[in-house]
């Protein structure tokens, strides 16, 4: 799960990680009041779940009241389009207004789980403010990594090593050390999957602060962090994905026109691949899971059909433990309740497949049934093209 910068900074502050003074606002009046209270210069920052806000015009330094008024009006309500938002962009509903600071150095600092080493790794770079992927490509020597073994936890040597590599003065080292200890503890105790401070800044007074903050959390651990789970902002998510999550359906919207309903994540991915292989474009990833109930199938259909790009649907079910005749009944029941005008190609393989296919054929509904995977996919690709 992702959260907004202002939420990440609240969390940082509560864990003893210094952040600039600032406040979030959801109206122009409130935002201006915050700017007036903080004094100038200050920074107006669009709050959306995407990077690249600066280049997209979503972050603005303002030097006086009239500049503040102008840019608050411009950014609040803006549909921000950055390389991370997609072409449709994201509506700015909230602004974070922060004090301007006298910055003398900028760094990159992040904590993630390294899958290869199977432990957390702290990543730091002297190239603050730049995307880490870009730095890794152009200046790999500027990136420093420090793995933290779960037995030792974060030790003073980890911090010293990073501080010397970042060339910090003695006072700065102390401030950096305090920040990193608190940041690492936050990473562990909140089950974060990513904590990224970019840039981490050093001010003229040798203070070390998080000027920006991005924190993602392990979805599997949200159950033990209800306070963090409450920060979810569904406005930032694709509406159909939000709807799907209510029914524990794993749905991801894509750009194509063939809606897919599949059981199992691996098979769902493979189904997308094979559609592409035969010249089609999948409209979504959808894993309906193992114990497929009639209600779930119905909700899945509703979500697939709500995507107006969808011209044909492909249902690909491998019944292992699940009986395909039960799945077939679910499909028939679901389809009868919904007015489906587009073609649906169904492939049911596995336990009781003959019975399952018979139920579909005798339903009087407009289903195309195919047993062979390649044939089924060719058929749905054709139908989606309108041939």
């Amino acid at each position: 799960m992702k959260i907004h910068e202002y939420q990440a900074k609240e969390l940082l502050k509560s864990c003893g990680v210094p952040v600039p003074l600032g406040e979030v606002a959801d109206t122009a009046e409130k935002a201006l009041a915050v700017a007036e209270r903080l004094g100038y210069p200050c920074v107006i920052k669009a709050q959306v779940h995407a990077g690249g806000r600066g280049k997209a015009g979503g972050i603005q330094l303002v030097r006086n009241r009239s500049e503040a008024e102008k840019h608050i009006a411009r950014i609040l309500g803006l549909t921000l389009v950055s390389h991370q938002t997609g072409p449709e962009g994201k509506l700015v509903r909230k602004l974070l207004v922060e004090q301007g600071l006298d910055i003398i150095k900028e760094f990159y600092l992040a904590i993630i789980i390294d899958r290869e080493e199977e432990m957390p790794v702290i990543i730091a770079s002297s190239q603050g403010g730049m995307e880490i992927e870009t730095v890794a490509r152009d200046h790999p020597q500027a990136i420093f990594k420090m793995h933290v073994h779960p037995v030792t936890g974060l030790s003073a040597c980890h911090i010293r090593n990073l501080a010397f590599k970042l060339d910090l003065s003695k006072v700065q080292q102390q401030n950096f050390s305090n920040l990193l200890i608190n940041l690492y503890e936050l990473f562990l105790k909140s089950d974060a999957s990513l904590v990224e401070i970019n840039p981490l800044i050093v001010t003229a007074n040798d203070e070390v602060l998080a000027l920006d903050a991005k924190i993602n959390f392990d979805d599997n651990a949200l159950g033990r962090h209800p306070d963090i789970a409450a920060w979810r902002d569904v406005h930032e998510e694709e509406p159909l994905e939000v709807e799907a999550s209510k029914f524990e359906l794993n749905y991801i919207r894509l750009d194509g026109n063939i809606g897919c309903m599949v059981n199992g994540a691996g098979l769902a991915m493979a189904t997308m691949d094979i559609i592409k292989f035969y010249g089609g474009e999948p409209a979504n990833f959808l894993d309906v899971g193992g114990a497929t109930s009639v209600e779930k199938v119905k909700e899945a259909f509703k979500i697939l059909l709500a995507d107006k790009n969808v011209r044909a649907v492909f249902v690909n079910i491998f019944g292992g433990i699940v009986r395909t005749d039960l799945v077939a009944n679910g499909i028939v029941y679901a389809a009868k309740g919904l007015e489906i005008k587009i073609p649906i190609v169904i492939r049911l393989v596995g336990t009781n497949e003959e019975e399952g296919m018979r139920i579909l054929r005798e339903s009087q509904l407009n289903f195309v049934t195919e047993n062979v995977l390649a044939d089924a996919v060719r058929r749905v690709v054709e139908l989606a093209k309108g041939d």
Partner: protein, 289 residues
């Protein structure tokens, strides 16, 4: 032969009396797996599915000499269940549970290094040596004893491959679902090492997916050390970057872990990579003749 489990494996079930545990234990017993008991705290002394229930794994091991445990407990308690099994000296721990927090697995993984236990999973269908023993949730009916080893990060997609192998009359030696999480007990390379010395296994099917580097490590291992034919499919060729595709581990992050990258390095190391999952069985058949 087959690897890791056979007709002599003595299996206990953690989370024995729950809904999932009961359903799949019944299926395993029907398949012929020697389930010797199960664990549900505070239900010790009861009898479930005609087998004894114990409060702790330690007690179960003492009474039944179990050497394999399969875990069905809910994700928030699954890491603890793995630790308990390892402390009791279980040689092979198979964790089916999906949704274990990754930081729990960091601890579990490094703890297991200090024990002699092997973990398969979590978030996996388990392991099966057809005709001998099944420790997991895969549909028994589609399997048949034979000469093809299977290693996969997926569930249903593996069944699709198994089904094709069975229809080609080749059968399986052992099938292992290694799990779809970012941190798992047994990697592709570790599974390959076991299959390498198994006389029953003449060819191998490897089903990978986007995310992580397990497939790349496997490719390097196969290139140097594995002389049986390997057929591979990588799911997620069309997956968008930065999105978690169902499995917690199936995500392309920072431009790394793409299917294209994995397929290229597997091919370079002599693996028969199929782009179309419908062709897995036929490809193995063609190679084995």
């Amino acid at each position: 032969m087959s690897i890791l489990i056979n007709q002599d494996s003595r299996v206990i079930v953690q989370g024995f009396t729950g809904r999932e545990g009961t359903f799949h234990s019944t299926q395993m017993i029907e398949y012929g797996t020697r389930i010797v008991g199960g664990i549900t705290p505070n239900k010790g002394g009861q009898i479930h599915l005609d087998k004894p229930v114990f409060n702790t794994v330690e007690e179960a091991v003492k009474e039944t000499a179990a050497d394999v445990s399969v875990i069905f407990v809910p994700a928030p308690f699954a890491a603890d269940a793995i630790i308990e099994a390892a402390l009791a000296g279980i040689a092979l721990i198979v964790c089916i549970s999906e949704g274990i927090p990754v930081l729990d697995m960091v601890k579990v993984k490094h703890f297991l290094c200090t024990t002699s236990s092997r973990l398969i999973g979590p978030n996996c269908p388990g392991i099966i040596s057809p005709g001998k023993c099944k420790v997991g949730i895969m549909p028994s009916r589609i399997h048949s004893p034979g000469k093809v080893g299977i290693i996969s990060r997926s569930g249903t997609l593996t069944y699709v491959a198994v089904d094709q192998i069975t229809r080609e009359n080749l059968g399986q030696s052992t099938g292992i679902g290694i799990g779809g999480d970012p941190i798992i007990g047994t990697s592709f390379v570790e599974a390959l090492q076991l299959f390498k010395d198994d006389e029953q296994t003449e060819a191998l099917v490897m089903i990978g997916e986007i995310g992580g580097t397990l497939e790349e490590e496997a490719a390097a291992y196969i290139g140097k050390n594995f002389n049986k034919p390997v057929v591979a499919f990588i799911a997620g060729q069309t997956a968008p970057p930065g999105r978690r595709m169902g499995h917690a581990g199936a995500i392309i992050s920072g431009g790394r872990g793409t299917a294209a990258e994995k397929m290229a390095v597997l091919k370079k190391n002599g693996v028969h990579v199929v782009e179309n999952p419908a062709e897995i069985g036929a490809t193995v058949k063609k190679i084995l003749g």
